[in-house]
């Protein structure tokens, strides 16, 4: 099995890892870099639990080859701790009660972060469209949309 060494920035920290070429970025982030905030839900891009931000755009890390991170900036849910907008979204999720089991939350928060980057004051419809790639099986989405709306208004 072919291994490949890649260099990239993970949440602002220069990182060097060796990975099998067919490994997903999600497996690399969780099992090689050891950051387990990013979740494995479906493994095929349907649920969005594994959403990360790569060079400023949100992606399903389960569909991304780890080797493609070479030379790029990767932000995971852990990285939002150093981001004022990220912290604002997290606080709004807590205050709105937008978290039940919590498994979808890291992906929801990452996608909300991406949405507010592109559209700082989205309508509720635009929020719905923005998170259409993220599934939540507990909340019914209303409180998640409330939280993102609240974060956009602060």
């Amino acid at each position: 099995m072919s291994q490949q060494t890649i260099n990239f920035t993970l949440n602002g920290v220069p990182t060097r890892v060796s990975v099998p070429v067919q490994m997903s970025a999600l497996e690399m982030i969780r099992n090689v870099a050891g950051l387990t905030g990013t979740k494995y839900g479906c493994g095929e891009g349907e649920c969005g639990a594994c959403t990360i931000i790569l060079d400023g755009v949100s992606l399903n890390s389960c569909l991304l080859f780890a080797v493609e991170c070479d030379g790029r900036q990767v932000t995971t849910i852990e990285g939002l701790a150093a981001d004022p907008v990220g912290l604002r979204i997290e606080k709004a999720f807590v205050e709105a009660g937008a978290v039940q089991c919590g498994f979808c939350t890291p992906g929801m928060v990452m996608q909300a972060r991406q949405l507010l980057e592109q559209n700082p004051h989205p309508s509720r419809e635009e929020i719905q469209r923005g998170i259409e790639g993220n599934l939540c099986r507990c909340t019914g989405y209303v409180k998640i949309i409330d939280a993102i709306e609240a974060a956009s208004k602060e």
């Binding site: 072919s2 070429v21 891009g45 349907e46 992606l59 991304l64 493609e68 923005g130």
Partner: protein, 290 residues
């Protein structure tokens, strides 16, 4: 059996086509959004070398070249949707892109990848077909770079199968800028707007003048092993006044000319009904709004 044991990430088209020629057994990686799940599920077997083409600048970008818009193979669905040239000249493509999967997948998936996957339900394929797109292919069998072009419908052979030669790379798709009076519609039918593989899709385009459609192109997705042209439907519309009788004849022709299968997404009967009803509805919409 050969196993994946080599990884290359060429940084120019020249380097890529030379490596394709030399290495032989190569799996191409662009956005990865299909390759990753397909390979995990065992539907696609990796060849000996994985070639990541994302570092090739020549495969990026959207530009106007004469009377055509050229969309580089690595253009993501998001980039295509947002590009001013696409929005101005090819709004049908921007609309189809907006209904493509989810934001995360649009940000990663590429136009070239959507074409090379050759899924009968590929969301950009029907719109590209009715817009008269050609694919641009490149290889280097000897000392000179060889390029050829092919109308998109000819490119598809079967599910996941295309006319791409083993050492060839799809570099771009070229679309003629539509003439004055051009109208186009795309309709994708599934159970939810996001992240759904369509049960059927329909594209209709043509030039509307004095209530008559000409240069008609019709294409259907998810009703055959490849996206297909609706030749009989085109014939039922070409040069005719777009009235109730023509629309009924065209919808009937569409229903009769498709031969879908029954699968988890829809039965063959339902697909034929949907093709009939949606074709009629699209044509009524064209007739009412122009």
């Amino acid at each position: 059996m050969t196993a994946l044991d080599n990884y290359v990430a060429p940084t120019s088209l020249e380097q890529a086509v030379v490596q394709l020629q030399e290495l032989g057994e190569v799996t191409i990686l662009a956005g990865g959004t299909d390759l990753m799940p397909q390979s995990h599920a065992g539907r696609v077997k990796f060849k000996r070398t994985l070639m990541n083409i994302r570092r090739i600048p020549e495969l990026r970008g959207i530009s106007r070249e004469g009377d055509e818009i050229r969309i580089g193979a690595l253009t993501t669905i998001t980039e295509m949707m947002a590009h001013p040239l696409v929005r101005e000249h090819l709004p049908l493509l921007a609309q189809a892109a907006d209904h493509f999967a989810s934001d995360q997948i649009r940000n990663a998936g590429t136009v070239g990848g959507n074409i090379c996957n050759a899924s009968p339900a590929g969301d950009t394929l029907v719109p590209l077909m009715v817009l008269g797109a050609h694919v641009e292919l490149a290889s280097k069998p000897d000392d000179t770079l060889f390029r050829r072009s092919m109308p998109l419908p000819e490119f598809f052979v079967g599910p996941g199968k295309t006319r791409l030669a083993p050492a060839e790379l799809l570099t771009a798709v070229r679309i003629p800028i539509p003439p004055k009076g051009f109208v186009a519609r795309f309709h994708k039918f599934g159970t939810r707007p996001a992240l759904d593989i369509s049960a059927i899709s329909i594209g209709v385009a043509g030039v509307l003048k004095d209530g008559k459609l000409s240069q008609v192109r019709v294409a259907f997705g998810a009703v055959a092993p490849t996206p297909v042209c609706g030749c009989a439907t085109e014939e039922a519309l070409e040069g005719k006044k777009l009235d109730a009788a023509t629309i009924a004849a065209a919808a009937k022709a569409a229903q009769d000319e498709v031969h879908p299968i029954s699968d988890v997404r829809a039965s063959a009967w339902y697909r034929k009904e949907m093709i009939h009803n949606m074709t009629r509805r699209i044509l009524e919409d064209v007739s009412a709004n122009h």
